[in-house]
Symmetry: D3
Subunit: 131 residues, 6 copies
Amino acid sequence: MSIFGLIEYKDASPEVRAVYDDIMAARKTDSINNFWKAIAHDPATLKRTWEDIKQIMAPGALDPLTKELIYVAVSVTNQCPYCIASHTASAQKKGMTDAMFKELMSVVGMANETNKMVTGYQVEIDAQFKK
Amino acid sequence: MSIFGLIEYKDASPEVRAVYDDIMAARKTDSINNFWKAIAHDPATLKRTWEDIKQIMAPGALDPLTKELIYVAVSVTNQCPYCIASHTASAQKKGMTDAMFKELMSVVGMANETNKMVTGYQVEIDAQFKK
Amino acid sequence: MSIFGLIEYKDASPEVRAVYDDIMAARKTDSINNFWKAIAHDPATLKRTWEDIKQIMAPGALDPLTKELIYVAVSVTNQCPYCIASHTASAQKKGMTDAMFKELMSVVGMANETNKMVTGYQVEIDAQFKK
Amino acid sequence: MSIFGLIEYKDASPEVRAVYDDIMAARKTDSINNFWKAIAHDPATLKRTWEDIKQIMAPGALDPLTKELIYVAVSVTNQCPYCIASHTASAQKKGMTDAMFKELMSVVGMANETNKMVTGYQVEIDAQFKK
Amino acid sequence: MSIFGLIEYKDASPEVRAVYDDIMAARKTDSINNFWKAIAHDPATLKRTWEDIKQIMAPGALDPLTKELIYVAVSVTNQCPYCIASHTASAQKKGMTDAMFKELMSVVGMANETNKMVTGYQVEIDAQFKK
Amino acid sequence: MSIFGLIEYKDASPEVRAVYDDIMAARKTDSINNFWKAIAHDPATLKRTWEDIKQIMAPGALDPLTKELIYVAVSVTNQCPYCIASHTASAQKKGMTDAMFKELMSVVGMANETNKMVTGYQVEIDAQFKK
């Protein structure tokens, strides 16, 4: 299931349980994804990763759904099956409709296509876009 | 500037000019990016790529700005300097603020980090996420 | 199990057996990983790949464990499940502790995160780092 | 030089200066790399990224040089020129010799080669490596 | 089997059936791959993707087998198991022998190796190759 | 120009010169690319890499031009500017026409697009393609 196995809530240390509790409260759910149960074997990393995600995925200039769509776009580009499955589910929970998912996939596919073509043609950056 | 050079409007065939005209009309601009000028050496590809992008990036279930943010997210994950420069500029034109860009970068960075960690820990997809 | 199936020792040609024998001797084991059994269908590639790995992974300025950690880091970044599973096992055999693995994953995650951020922000290489 | 330009120490807010000071103290240097000056436009990200790196790259089960070699390995696999240049310099500062660098490159190259071959041959993970 | 399930011919709309018919006619087969059945939930994307592939993979300056070998090379480099399995089968159908497959894998492996080494060594493009 | 600089023929050791001579003879040219001059700082790697490439890129079941096209396809997918520039030049020298290059780019772009779409839609491998 994972290199060190998964740490369930009932078997978790108080330190790990505190993070699990915070994840469940923030996400309004009573289950914890396998990812967290896997990295719980490294409590410092569990805590750091969760704190980072909580800060980064919070509503801000971008709304939570948009952030989740971006997360899926990256996961698809990296071809990470776990990440695609879990973040697609998160996006759906945050309001992604089927129509949105389909458009998301088309944009991701197109971007991957043109990213390669522009590099293959050895195109120089337009003067007005240079930083 | 590109493997075959760049085809400027004044030197373009009627077939290529028709695409350039459509790009400039759709984007409300009077300039054409180097990418299009580079692939214009292959008019069928120029036309197909532009028609695809026009269809895919049009307003739909996702608004044009969200689509452009996704394009940038993919381009950053692929580490394509041309694509990042040009699509960041497009996103700004469509309303991306500096605050949005900063959050976009944080989400992209975070997603790339956890994509690798979950794969490295060999985490199995949660039963409820399997398709 | 693989595109052409796996060639077991008992079914192998003398040419392939010689490589298998050398792998088992070098690794002090009596089993051969599926990777070798798969590419054994191309004996020249089997031999070349093994000779290369033997030369590259030998103790040198870097010790064998450090080299194996680097192999895992690349495999995780490429999101290659087979490679992660087999090279993590090799690293453990060479002395990687659980604590080392956890730190390895954190470094790999962090590096992937900042690799993308620096490219996304379009940061120019510092003058003192240019070659 | 970067999308929003680089924030020099003299122009930085107290919040940003505090991070710069901590970076310079930790690294025993009086200069700040462009990466930090670029993301300083987002002080929360600057602080979070630095705190994460400081925690992750600290001596632990793996020594700082090994961690830096892993950072370079990821950066090369991602083909990120900025990251390669800056982390190669960091690794040299932490004791990487030319001989170590050469071996690092050979391992990274080899790992990238076999990662693809094993996937291309569609090799199934050996039973004993499955988690 | 896929996020929205697979649309079989008997359950398909006339619009989707028209594409399925064209795929089967073009490929001289009476079955449709799962990829098409999955994206058939987005008929516009199904149609656009098929029209693009039909145009791009048609005989031209490069013959269909060479194009399919290139497709496999990209799929292996992206480490996409579905794509490798399906396009390897397509290539075999178009005449790829076992010997060709083996050489293909060796070239792909080698290219991935040297791509990383040249970037890691920070090699500048030779003057005569610059565009 | 490269991390350790470039070793020119006149400054090379007999060991390195022997490889340079073999490269020039095999390629019917009197110049050596920067890549070789950069890794010549590690003569064992120079020799191993050249011997591997010579074996792999030799005419076989696939002709040299096809192999070079595959090399370019991988280099574009990896977005490696040096590799694209040098292997595109090699392919041209081996007979790649402009029309071939354009079709190559279209196939590479298309493959990158569908690789991501199939993964994003979480499509299961068709039963008949499983190994």
